[in-house]
Amino acid sequence: MSKHRRVCDGRIGLAVVASVLWAVTPSAAQDGAKPAGKQIPHEIHQKSSVPGRADIPNAEVAKQLRGIAPPPIATPLEKLPLPQMRLPNGFRAEVYVSGIANARTIRLTERGTLFVSNRVLDKVYAVVDRNGKRETKVIASGLDRPNGLAFHNGTLYIAEGTRIIKFEKIEDNLDKPPQPVVVYSDLPNTSSHGWRYIGIGPDGKLYINVGAPCNICEPLQGTAQIRRLNLDGTGAEPFALGVRNSVGFDWHPANKQLYFTDNGRDWLSEDLPEDELNRVTARGQHFGFPYCHQGDFTDREMGWGRSCDEFVKPVAKLGPHSAALGMRFYTGRMFPQQYRGGIFIARHGSWNRTKKIGGDVVYAALNRDGSVRSVKPFLTGFLQNNDWIGRPVDVEVMRDGSLLVSDDFAGAVYRISYGAPRTASR
């Protein structure tokens, strides 16, 4: 290994000489003489892995199946997709803050500070509102996929890929945050589904998702679950099992049950399975992954010998590949009656689907018993000609009842309000 390195380092050195002298690069000598071999023509038309769709691997359609990466640079304010956004009558959208590339999880404090996290980038921000004037500060950088945020009694918790850290009294120290303290680090280091989502439950415990380290597999011990632990990192225990990857959960304000979104597997088909909204009524329930999807069909590889009846079924299906992420019970009073007591859910939008869906915020209305009555679109317009112009990730209810929505594609947070225009917050 080290020998090998040295050789190539030396060559790199030579190359730089060349560059400095404005000369040509060294020859390909190190590759040795290249025998002129007979070229076997590259076969463009490969076998399809999609039954019945010989066109898939190479047609334009196949290209639509890839994941679209969120830009590392935020969309400038004047180019944000406000004009394209659609809301039910009486609602309006405005930009709450722009210029935060890859804006992911959002958490508001009672004082009105908004914390914003990253997933593919490395920062956590605080947005401070002074009478409608907003200032954005980076409070932590160099973090490893710091997607998860929770705020509790003055302390900000950040979940990185392999640990949870905390900043105490953060709001008094936004300009010079103290050194973070590590709370918990018993998390697997996986790239696949290796980012976290956290929340603090009505029981005062910290809940965290530990996603399956794959698209579909028999999950490693301790993965494909939502765990809970004490705020000091002790007492970790699995809370919900068979969860492929949950990147959003919240507790019912009345019955205190945990509801969570879960992203279904990929590469099965355009329309199956759908993402799930689940409800945990008892600790230790199993929600089906990898054996059963969307509560009603067994996996084509992992599901043999299993039955969906072994598992807890979702309370709602949220659309195939729709990437349902952040969700919040609406506890505000600004919105009309029909939007109270239910859940706003951000659907980040599909990859692995030729005709994109999602990229919106939907509203799930609940029945008295906590079951779901309907799921309807609320904020739409981010999907134009099968391309994203924005992608909602998380939602948060402001004190005045307006709704904040983060967008990791455009790098912004929007505020949705109802009724006569008022300025944000107070």
């Binding site: 060559r11 690069t25 590759d31 290209k63 890839r66 590392p72 290796g194």
Partner: protein
């Protein structure tokens, strides 16, 4: 074997390249800025140096993301992180656009083993490399071109995703390599390096 004296020189020379890059006054054209880069990566889009990737015809968005990641040390590999330190967003964009216009790399001319090619086609059908990297492996948007890339670099990249030393910008390749073995990486690399 190259002596370690060269290694010391390498440090100095990278420093010299950095000085060149950081020449004050924005009069430096993109071409001038890229000259030190292409000394390593190959002026005509094809790298001739071990484990240094060819950059020709890479999609501009992929390049922008990788350059951004080097600058922010999200992809922390020397000399790339030092080379891009402090470069503005706009300059990253210009460099990415200029590099994308370089000619596609020349495929390795040593013979493609028909057996290995068959195995790779079977693996591709299973793992759908072509869906994202496109049917001719020319890449698209955030997904890199693989056709004609250096064999040693392809192996290095795949191993990096597998052992987490290269964390991609997003997790797409992590899911892909999860079920793959080192022997299969070698097969992919052999094949991809030899197609145009």
């Amino acid at each position: 074997m190259i002596a370690s004296g060269t290694r010391i020189k390498r440090g100095l020379l990278i420093a010299a390249a950095l000085v060149l890059l950081a020449t004050p006054g924005m009069t430096q054209s993109v071409a001038e800025r890229l000259a030190p880069c292409l000394a390593c990566h190959g002026e005509n889009g094809t790298s001739t140096m071990p484990e240094v990737p060819s950059l020709g015809a890479q999609p501009a968005y992929f390049l922008l993301i990788q350059l951004f990641m080097f600058r922010e040390r999200l992809r922390n590999v020397e000399p790339m992180t030092s080379m891009l330190k402090g470069v503005s967003d706009d300059d990253l964009r210009r460099m990415a656009e200029a590099i994308a216009k370089l000619p596609a790399p020349k495929a390795d001319e040593t013979p493609l083993s028909p057996d290995r090619a068959t195995r790779v086609r079977e693996l591709v059908a299973q793992h759908r490399c072509n869906f994202c990297h496109s049917g001719d492996y020319s890449g698209q948007e955030n997904v890199p071109r693989l056709a004609g890339q250096r064999e040693d670099y392809l192996i290095k990249a795949l191993r990096g995703y597998k052992d987490n030393t290269r964390r991609g910008y997003d997790a797409q390749m992590a899911d892909v390599v999860e079920p793959l073995t080192d022997a299969e990486f070698a097969e992919f690399a052999h094949y991809l390096a030899r197609i145009n």
